[in-house]
Assembly symmetry: none
């Protein structure tokens, strides 16, 4: 028996939980009705508090469909912190002592979430980077492409004996330990839910592969997973497929409707279908600039083609310069030859020993052998 904070006694048994159901309500209010220490794992995708300004146009003149929903608007950092602490406190109460919580966010909110987690007594286990294989570019060229989101994985306390399926993660990752950076594509294509008008049903739907990895890593079959910001129910759909029980909380009726339909249609899936090996394509590649930064091809190096018809100097940003013309190893190679394109890796050579030209591709190969990309 567990004493609830309104003074009632309530069984913490599985039967008391609204399993495999969506509660349409504010998440703090809905969690308040759940017993203490009854949940194995929480996945939370709270509002990010993006603080966007005016419209943003792509170079082709079309407008970016921004997240401008009311649920993402907060008056101040202070207001956002109060909101965050309220739901984190309630989440910690319903979490079992050995349970863990996942929260996802971007640089707009994740630092405040992390601070709040620590201040509320959680014990951080990892921060995980979801490296987006296909992020939206930075259209104006004003910053680095915002190409990732951050997840925090935390236990209820430092003493917690939490679930981590080490071998399952290793198996999922070509038999090497799963790292803290995960390369996964955005949710799109057939997986992306549409409303009746053909528009996206929810502005921030997460890919199932992300939740799949989370639940596979940190829950056991039959565990109860709570999602206080359920949206279109990705957590419910994946939990059902993986044989976990789930509870979703969502305030907006239209999302609840979409989620119900979706989860009803979800089939427990053959595990092999989801155990996608990290594809070479999604792995980071080696740019010529990496070799320049690393000092293998220092700025100032002279490069030439195999027959020494042209020579060029490597600049600090790895662009090449030849008699006032400049560009990347590929672009300048193409321009000098008058060709539409050129593989700079094989076109340009450096003199590693006197009189001996070697294509810069051999430098790249040496680099790859010494510091593998994965």
């Amino acid at each position: 028996m567990v004493k609830m904070d309104r003074g009632l006694l309530m069984p913490a048994s599985r039967e008391a939980l609204p399993l495999d159901r969506i509660l349409r309500d504010d998440c703090v209010r809905a969690m308040a009705l759940l017993p203490d220490k009854s949940i194995d794992c929480i996945f939370a995708d709270p509002p990010y508090n993006l603080q966007l300004g005016g419209d943003l146009h792509r170079p082709d003149g079309t407008m970016v469909d921004a997240v401008d929903d009311d649920w993402d608007k907060f008056e101040s950092y202070y207001t956002y912190d109060r909101f965050t602490r309220a739901w984190l406190r309630e989440a910690r109460r319903v979490l079992k002592d050995d349970g863990t919580i996942w929260v996802i966010g971007s640089y707009h909110n994740i630092f405040r979430v992390g601070t709040s987690l620590q201040d509320e007594g959680y014990w951080l286990l990892n921060d995980i980077i979801w490296r987006k294989a296909n992020p939206m570019p930075n259209f104006k060229g004003t910053r680095f492409t915002n190409a990732h989101e951050t997840l925090i994985w935390a236990a209820k306390s430092e003493e917690s004996r939490y679930t981590f399926n080490y071998q399952a993660m290793k198996a999922l990752n070509e038999d090497v330990q799963m790292r803290s950076d995960w390369s996964l594509p955005l949710c799109g294509g057939a997986e992306r839910l549409k409303d009746d008008d053909g528009n996206k049903a929810h502005p921030t739907q997460k890919p199932e592969a992300l939740i799949y990895r989370i639940l596979l890593a940190t829950t056991k079959p039959g565990d109860v997973v709570l999602d206080p910001f359920f949206g279109t129910g990705t957590t419910g759909a994946v939990a059902k497929r993986l044989g976990r029980r789930w509870i979703g909380i969502e305030r907006e009726a239209k999302y609840v409707r979409v989620a119900r339909e979706r989860i009803a249609a979800a089939l427990p899936l053959d595990e092999s279908a989801m155990t996608v090996m990290p594809s070479r394509r999604s792995a980071p590649r080696v740019a010529f600039g990496t070799l320049v930064e690393a000092g293998l091809v220092p700025p100032g190096t002279m490069l030439s083609d195999a027959r020494r018809r042209w020579a060029a100097v490597v600049r600090a940003d790895s662009s090449l310069m030849h008699e006032g013309q400049s560009g990347s190893i590929h672009k300048l190679g193409a321009a000098l030859q008058g060709a539409p394109s050129c593989n700079g890796w094989t076109f340009w050579h450096m003199e590693r020993a006197p009189g001996q030209l070697e294509p810069i591709d051999t430098v790249r190969q040496a680099w790859l052998a010494q510091a593998p990309a994965s």
Copy 2:
């Protein structure tokens, strides 16, 4: 002249700064002696061991007791926050209005740093993931391999017009935008500094490639870079190499000694190697009318967009005319597409050879190449 907060008037001129020097002192105390708004860029690698004790000091220089129990953990977060805010506040004072700051950390401290940055009035521009190509494995198999660190890049305020060398970063990354995740190896091998006993001279020496990318992206040659936690002087060595000025602050004499030697041995790049791809925003402006007057685009020329959906004729005053509509190359392009704005230079094309359309921007480039800078 700049008014300092202790009521003295002090010149903010470059001569007043201890350029290319290491100040052996506590960073808050040393920064207090620097003038307001005198620094272009700050790189900071603050201590983050919350529980290990030893490295954590209060702003007044006294040491924090290492503590383990829950109550004192809160005390230690609180103390760490106070320390963080103290140096961030002083850093913001010495930063120019258009300057930026970089801070690196791990999940132990980066959330508190990010929150403090926001609370102190900084405006976050990006969080950058340093994805370690060769991280230390997790030996116990109890968590995901901690394979990255996080950097935060922030401007002094939302209105700041900060430096970002977009084209240089694009060049460094095979001609596609630089993303927020950077894959770089740990600092090791010959780069890793050793003390007389052959042990590593500093426990958290950062790779030069990381600082190289940071300084190349967000500073200009001659800019002043401040590092308040200088350690073995990686920031100084890279700044010297890239033709930037630097100021280092370090409390421990043994690190100061190592850093001095190291930086003295670093070789600056020569001028030609140091240049990077210029931003087009900094190129001199050329009015379309200039090209019309010069006869490169004679009045009467027919222009069209790349897909020949619209055609327009150039008038004597360099305005364009299309079926009764007229306006500048930009205005008419925007109007025809129904877009709020349009770059007429890349939108409009002329037929220089039969069947071959070329953007009028190439005419401008030709003009710029022929008429040297004013």
